[in-house]
Symmetry: C2
Subunit: 227 residues, 2 copies
């Protein structure tokens, strides 16, 4: 599923509308959430009628899941190459965060959509659909990547002794929320070169924050967290 030929044919064959709908839906769902967007709005923004949209996607949740799947796949594509290279956990963590930020900054909508999906899936408790399971699996794989890096770091004594499972939530939450947050999204929507610089600066800051925050304290720094 990597040859440019196959995928191009696949994506192209399923006419342009399909793609356009997904793009529009991604933007709208990111902005107003699943319940806040009507299929009519999606369809007409994409340039066709509601009935036509239902010809491409059986129902609303299938459309939503398709959007989510695309976004998650995009993120996983960015993240997967950071998992296998060397064994130095600090660099791996840096690269992982780097890749996540790149993925989030790629489209300004991604962070918001992901943030919603990450803690909104509890909304629909009864959706054991195949696609839903697939999304869950992809998300699990992504999270597992970071968990592995953190756990390895802790085990090797490179990171402080933190609960890697909890820390994953903190890191992802910080990063995703950071890029979902209002003014930055606005910046990204508007500017382009300016936004590039902003991304780079924030990337550096976020990376450094966790780099230092997780590093096994080099002793001497008497900053005990006792309260």
């Amino acid at each position: 599923m990597n040859d440019p030929s196959d995928r191009a044919v696949e994506s192209q064959a399923a006419h342009a509308s399909h793609h356009k709908i997904l793009e529009v839906a991604e933007m709208l769902f990111a902005r107003r959430g699943f319940s806040g967007v009507g299929v009519r709005e999606v369809a007409e923004t994409a340039g066709l009628s509601k009935s036509s949209l239902f010809h491409h996607f059986r129902n609303k949740v299938e459309l939503y899941e398709a959007v989510l799947a695309r976004v998650l796949a995009r993120i996983e594509d960015r993240l997967s190459p950071t998992l296998s290279d060397d064994e130095r956990c600090r660099e791996r963590l840096d690269r992982w965060i780097d890749a996540l930020i790149d993925a989030l900054a790629e489209h300004p909508t991604t962070a918001r959509l992901l943030l919603r999906a990450l803690f909104e899936d509890d909304d629909r408790p009864s959706e054991p659909s195949a696609a839903g399971k697939d999304l869950q699996a992809t998300l699990g794989r992504i999270i597992e990547g970071l968990t592995g890096i953190l756990a390895a770091g802790v085990e090797q004594g490179v990171f402080r002794a933190v609960s890697s499972a909890h820390t994953v939530q903190t890191v992802i939450g910080a990063t995703v929320y950071h890029f979902a947050s209002g003014d930055f999204g606005a910046e990204l929507c508007g500017g382009s070169l300016v936004a590039r610089d902003a991304v780079r600066q924030r990337k550096r800051e976020v990376k450094a924050l966790f780099h230092h925050g997780l590093a096994a304290v080099p002793a001497g720094a008497g900053a005990g967290g006792a309260t």
Copy 2:
């Protein structure tokens, strides 16, 4: 249900239904968001009919804003005493995060509701209602508190030279997302004593993370973030 003090009279005068509605609405809005909850559901869960609810709140957004105002006030109550005491920024940061986590852990719904409100307000671009402005102001005050702590720390050389405005987003995002995240919310909803311990552990971890992450690097640690 807790304090028999002066404020209780105030809340009590505006009959029990009012309070019950707010509680139910907070839970539902936290779970499914503004658009995902109908006033009918709120009303009937609170034990009355839709028309009766509209006797207490003029419309849905007023109800939503009331819920948000209550939550924000609760958070501000916790956060305000951390702003004035001493001048040691690291301790102030610790206490601020402490208080935020306490506020978030108080009710399991708080984090989700806040997380939604924090980046969903862009959904309704045209709501310059008085109450809306008030919410924005309260939120601004809260954020300003952390911004001040960070800025002071950077100025004094206690923290690394980070953009305090951006770091605020990271800290708040990490914390709020952390407590909004699925399994933990579930834990909190169910258990009580176990949850207490979990809160304490996570509090320690989150605090330590930012404590170390923001601390001015004690030199010698050659962890340049260059890529």
